[in-house]
């Protein structure tokens, strides 16, 4: 048994190697607390997406531990991974690739609930057995008209698709959502709307986020605590208040310079 306190997800010294032996994720430790948004900044190729896939148990770890509250996810057997993962959801960078183009929005949206019948989120109280009503409620949460339920993904814009995916991530009332560059492929004005939406939903539902992005400004907007990743390692870690302090790592300061100019 491990003493956890407030933390939802704890990762200890996780390492993931490529087939060639190069370390994509090099001994990273992090802790995400209940209701907080932890930011992770890094340029492309620094291993941040691999880290996300490791935390989602989509990749097998080479070393390290992942704890979800009191459950050691790294020890979970392959067969029971699906059960262990119930409390973690994700939204990826490319909304078009995240929706099966051959399925209607309704079916993609309800996927998590359809296949995990035992989950009964409290915001569905009163209509737990009405699939259509649940779907409409979810779309309403992210500000999408319910007329899109029977549309196919190509009838929606990128921003709308990303909203649908956010709704799906929330549908099982997870304690943590991993957001891997959720706005990178969207226009800036749409990015602003999505970021606002994510913040509002966090206030309403108390869910934790791991917000991963190359955009220091967006990370700074979203989170109170952030980590900077470079070549598979965490090189810096600070709170929002300390971002401009002199103790920052040179790499962090380089990034700051870019985003301030």
């Amino acid at each position: 048994m491990k003493l956890v306190g407030n933390s939802i997800l704890t990762a200890k010294n996780i390492t993931k190697k490529y087939a060639c032996g190069h370390k994509a994720v090099d001994s990273i430790s992090l802790e995400i607390n209940k209701g907080e948004c932890l930011g992770l900044v890094g340029e492309s190729g620094c291993g941040k997406s691999t880290l996300a896939r490791c935390l989602l148990l989509l990749e097998r770890l080479d070393e390290g531990e992942i704890w979800l509250k009191e459950t050691p996810l790294h020890e979970v057997h392959r067969g029971t991974i699906r059960k262990a993962r119930k409390e973690i959801q994700a939204v990826f960078q490319n909304p078009t690739a995240s929706l099966n183009p051959k399925l209607k929005i309704m079916d993609s949206l309800m996927e998590a609930l359809d296949f995990q019948k035992d989950i009964q989120p409290c915001f569905f109280n009163g209509f737990q057995n009405d699939r259509l009503k649940k779907a409409e409620y979810l779309l309403d949460m992210v500000g999408i008209s319910k007329t899109y339920l029977h549309s196919y993904p190509h009838e929606l814009s990128g921003g709308q698709k990303q909203r649908v995916l956010i709704a799906r991530a929330l549908s099982i009332e997870p304690s943590l959502i991993i957001l891997d560059e959720p706005t990178a492929s969207l226009d800036v004005s749409i990015q602003a709307k999505i970021l606002n939406l994510l913040k509002d939903l966090q206030d309403q539902l108390g869910v934790s986020y791991l917000f991963i992005s190359h955009d220091l400004a967006a990370v700074n907007f979203m989170s109170n605590r952030m980590m900077v990743m470079q070549q598979g390692k965490i090189v810096d870690e600070c709170t929002k208040q300390d971002l401009f302090s002199d103790e920052r790592h040179t790499y962090t300061r380089q990034l700051l310079h870019v985003f301030e100019s």
Binding site: R85, K86, F92, Q93, L103, E111, A112, F115, H154, I172
Partner: protein, 277 residues
């Protein structure tokens, strides 16, 4: 319902419509047939086209029109049967091989390569030669050469789709591998498989007829088009219709299926462009 089918632009509906029409014709064959196709009447042999015998009679006095109709049942029916079995074998192997990958995939693909290394006809002829003549052996021979195409097609679709984020999403949403194949992969392969299958039916009909013609498939009394061609060839100078009519029948039915396949391919290409925005 017929009206909505006729008016709709959905590519699936056209196929359904054609298949529906075809199966209606094939099913009403026993009613339409004016004579017993195997009734020998030596007094009436090699009759020309007349009101009583719409397409004349053959060298044993059997009604050619009846034989063509019943032959349609044999030829088209058998080829659809062959195709269904090829799909039932090819699709699951392609799905599993592509999705699991690794050693199983490499092993399966070597087997597939081995089948693809030889021409279709050669393998089919050798196999049905080894197994002996007869319809069932013919079916086995053609299924053996046809399933690999579907395995390859399905596998390549699965390989490219399984990298996409929505598959990662499905895993996170708690779907098992089997559920992912069923919910996400089947809708993806359906269109491609349907196009290939429609184009293939023509080829299978030709193959059945060809193998029957050289005496490996259907055997003489049965009214199969290829076998009829074979029987008719000795009378080509006196009664060319004995070869021309089954030959034309084969041509027309293959033509219909090829047109259908081309139409479907065009429709799906257009749809893919739309979906790929």
């Amino acid at each position: 319902m017929i009206q909505t089918l006729l008016l709709s632009r959905n590519p699936y509906r056209v196929v359904i419509l054609v298949l529906l029409a075809l199966s209606v014709i094939l099913m009403t064959v026993p009613v339409l047939v004016p004579f017993d196709p195997n009734h020998v009447d030596m007094g009436n042999r090699l009759q020309p086209i007349s009101v009583e015998h719409l397409l004349g009679t053959d060298h044993l006095g059997r009604d050619l029109f009846s034989r063509i109709l019943v032959g349609a049942q044999t030829t088209v029916g058998t080829s659809i049967f062959v195709l269904s079995i090829a799909l039932l074998i090819g699709i699951p192997i392609g799905l599993i091989s592509g999705y699991i990958g690794g050693r199983i995939d490499r092993m399966m693909m070597r087997v597939v390569d081995a089948f693809l290394a030889f021409p279709d006809y050669l393998v089919a002829i050798v196999l049905s030669g080894l197994l002996g003549p007869g319809m069932i052996n013919l079916v086995i021979a053609i299924v053996t050469v046809k399933w690999v195409g579907y395995t390859r097609l399905v596998r390549s679709t699965v390989l490219s789709e399984k990298q996409k984020d929505y598959i990662a999403g499905a895993k996170i949403n708690g779907l098992s591998s089997f559920q992912i194949l069923l919910k996400h992969m089947i809708p993806h392969i359906l269109g491609n498989v349907m196009v290939l299958a429609t184009l293939d039916i023509g080829k299978i009909i030709l193959m059945i007829a060809a193998l029957s013609y050289i005496g490996l498939g259907a055997q003489p009394p049965s009214p199969e088009w290829g076998a009829m061609l074979n029987e008719g060839k000795s009378f080509f100078y006196n009664a060319p219709q004995l070869m021309i009519i089954p030959g034309l029948s084969i041509m027309i039915i293959v033509f219909i299926f090829n047109l259908l396949g081309d139409y479907l391919r065009d429709r799906f290409d257009v749809k893919d462009q739309k979906g790929g925005l």
